[in-house]
Assembly symmetry: C2
């Protein structure tokens, strides 16, 4: 079941560097793409960074709506994540072509991607120079939820291999998030 994540601690969903799906919508169009280049930027108010190339359909939808969702997919969705990272959304409904289900988000018009293990709903903090020069977007996280089977009390609690988060390598290969251990 999805449970709310305290906003000031929502950076913990991304702190370990998982690959994400970026979903967006505007003017009756919607799209989803994979992104390995996303990370937290600040704690409170929580902000995130994501790199979104100029050529993508997602870029148009984010610039038109000022919103996006960072969805954290799990190993069971790895093949769909690869498709979402290789197909273009121009002239195609990528939710359908990638076998992903669009679901309503809580606070933004962009859809969530069904079956993911966490969601960060974001409003763009406009920084036109970063967007133009570096394809870099800053989002303020305005809602966050996670699957309480794998995230509880502010901590990831992975056990089932199918529900672990993903770290993209290249050429359709990933690392699964590995074992946790205490170091200090």
């Amino acid at each position: 079941m999805l449970a709310d994540v305290e906003l000031a601690k929502s950076y913990r969903l991304l702190n370990h560097g998982p690959t994400v799906l970026v979903s967006s919508a505007a003017g009756g169009k919607r799209n989803v793409m994979a992104a390995a280049w996303a990370m937290p930027l600040d704690f409170d108010p929580p902000k995130v960074l994501v790199v979104v190339d100029k050529s993508t359909c997602t870029r148009e939808l984010i610039e038109a709506s000022g919103e996006f969702v960072l969805n954290i997919p799990c190993r069971a969705q790895a093949a769909q994540v690869v498709r979402a990272g290789s197909e273009s959304g121009h002239g195609r409904d990528k939710f359908a072509s990638c076998g992903l289900e669009p679901l309503p988000a809580q606070k933004v018009g962009a859809p969530r991607v069904g079956g993911c293990i966490a969601y960060l709903e974001c409003k763009v903090v406009p920084e036109p120079h970063n967007q133009r020069q570096y394809d870099l977007f800053i989002g303020e996280v305005i809602a966050a939820q996670a699957d309480d089977e794998v995230y509880r009390d502010g901590r990831w609690t992975f056990s089932d291999a199918a529900k672990r988060s993903l770290h993209y390598i290249s050429g359709g290969a990933f690392f699964a998030t590995g074992e946790s251990f205490q170091a200090g």
Copy 2:
């Protein structure tokens, strides 16, 4: 042994989202801090992003020198990474206090951290607004090397647990980079 990594493919060292050590030096001072918030920004010329708080000694040294190294530590160094992420470098030699060895880099004055599995030597791309407003630094990667025991032919090839990269959670806990698999 360290082997050169082709610059246009050096993003692959960071693509899976590992925690890094940021090392820097200026005016006879040197420092090292841990950072979970680092990622690639561009392929060629390769650029990276890293968040460095205003309060840190590292921040002063990066702003004074315009250089830093992103060092990718491994599980054998996890306890030192936690210390490097919790102690301040003001008034202290953190290499000594954290049990880390400073080694000369190839192209920058900032030291490398001995025993890490990869190194990205960076020159700051000055973006004063990002630095001031978001503590966000852009670096162009001008030299990259990796330990050929765990990185070969443009791919991580982890086997030994002690030499896997790290993904910081919080409170001194990490995920090790997990198993790799082919999805698409």
